[in-house]
Symmetry: C2
Subunit: 156 residues, 2 copies
């Protein structure tokens, strides 16, 4: 499943993860290919799903989301349909950035970007109490977001 990526593809992925607004000409210069070769390779990487999305990263603080919260959630019951129901609720909440279903002493880890603790408290009600399937949750407030990316290390 890890596809065949040659050195050109890897270099392009590194560059595009850092800045996907680089022109295909500049990319071409950087990797020593022609612009049209770059164009084709990027199209292929997108078609194969290696590049899943192209996004602007917004600073939460600059749009009023001053608080990042990490939440460990433990379920009452892990029956598949109940699990999916609660997962769906997490995923669809716009303040929830990330949802991981994990091994270990809790079931989900959530990352949220919220305006203030009042908003967070309201969300806890919507996300955890309404369902009835959440046994407990533990809240951690992030004092620092020292590194926040989705960047993947691409080995040369």
């Amino acid at each position: 499943m890890p596809l065949q990526l040659d050195a050109y593809d890897k270099k392009l992925l590194q560059l595009l993860q850092a800045n996907n607004k680089l022109s295909q000409r500049d990319l071409a210069d950087a990797v020593n290919l022609s612009p049209s070769a770059v164009n084709r390779r990027i199209a292929a990487l997108e078609a194969e799903g290696v590049i899943m999305a192209n996004t602007a990263v917004v600073d939460p603080a600059k749009v009023g989301k001053l608080i990042t919260v990490l939440v460990e959630v433990t379920l009452e019951n892990e029956r598949l349909d109940l699990l999916d129901e609660v997962k769906k609720r997490f995923v669809e909440c716009p303040q929830v950035q990330q949802v991981y279903y994990v091994t270990g002493d809790y079931d989900f880890l959530l990352v949220l970007a919220v305006t203030d603790m009042t908003e967070y408290e309201r969300l806890t009600r919507e996300l955890f109490f309404v369902s009835g399937n959440v046994k407990n949750f533990k809240t951690h407030v992030a004092m620092q977001r020292s590194k926040v990316s989705l960047g993947v290390a691409i080995e040369s």
Copy 2:
């Protein structure tokens, strides 16, 4: 510090978080402005740091990073210089996607994308044992990455 963003800016941010490759003309149509107005506003959002980066999101699995690991790290000593030293090590590691310094019963939460558990084990040595300031760490392997984004909810 939450800047003055009008309805146009907010709509543009929503659209660009979903897809920053939309042409300025399409954006202009979507928000009912001229393309050049859109151009100016995006430039301003980038200059103000509201848009922090423009990135291609890579599927970790497609480039061989099959495992996502969440790690809770507890330090021995939170003296500022020691804290910065260990934080720096975390941030600079390319397999580490995210570093949060948090309140609660541990100090850091890390998100890593790794090839396999062998690579993770090697990294634990580099990141946790070499420093000497890590009291303990708890590893959670993500069975599902149900939602992974840096998207911020922009209230209309």
